[in-house]
């Protein structure tokens, strides 16, 4: 197999595992993928992603901002306007998760077929 050593994320709570969990988190993936296309305002991003609550979006954005993936640009105007965009680091991460998201879309049918096989086999034997 053409791979070298597996990453040593395999220690209980090493820092990189934490980072990995942030970028692969339920909403983290979707935020990064969306921001790869362009920058978004808060509500705009919320509508684009769909199904995310204000609370979780805010929380996700804060985590990603703290990790240095997302840049938050709050303009001092009324009504408030805040733009979110990717940093250089964030763009690297986003490209990875975006590839993963694309791959998932391409293969989702194969997965569904696998599930049918799995379920029918199990169902038959009980």
């Amino acid at each position: 197999m053409g791979v070298s050593k597996p990453p040593n994320v395999n220690e209980p709570m090493c820092p990189s595992r934490l980072v990995l969990e942030h970028v692969t988190s339920r909403w983290g993936v979707l935020v990064l993928a969306a921001l790869l296309e362009r920058s978004y305002r808060f509500s705009e991003l919320r509508r684009t992603i769909g199904g995310v609550s204000e609370k979780m979006l805010a929380q996700t954005l804060q985590t990603l901002e703290r990790d240095g993936f997302v840049h938050r640009d709050a303009k001092p105007v009324i009504p408030p306007r805040v733009d979110y965009s990717l940093t250089a680091l964030g763009e690297e991460a986003a490209r990875q998760v975006w590839e993963l998201a694309r791959w998932t879309e391409r293969r989702v049918q194969a997965v569904e077929e696998a599930r049918v096989r799995y379920d029918t086999v199990r169902e038959a034997s009980q």
Copy 2:
């Protein structure tokens, strides 16, 4: 930017979002990355990953097996011996998450520096 359209995982509960959540789940990522290196037995995998409970490992493996990513080979011997390995589909997924894991490791220091900056700025202003 060199990207086309973002994946339409951006609908509340589309099937591909589900699949994405499985492969990016906390333990899913680590299981796939580990199995990319070679096949593992249950306890062996548990030790290798570290910090995962029996319950969660079993659950993760079942999900990945149902999705067609993992092949489960239960040998009818006593004591029981079960080997887990990747299917072709699983290997594709594993390569993606493995790249992500590697990237995370390479960049973990940049993230930690970003966090320090974020925290010191916030701390100074309150």
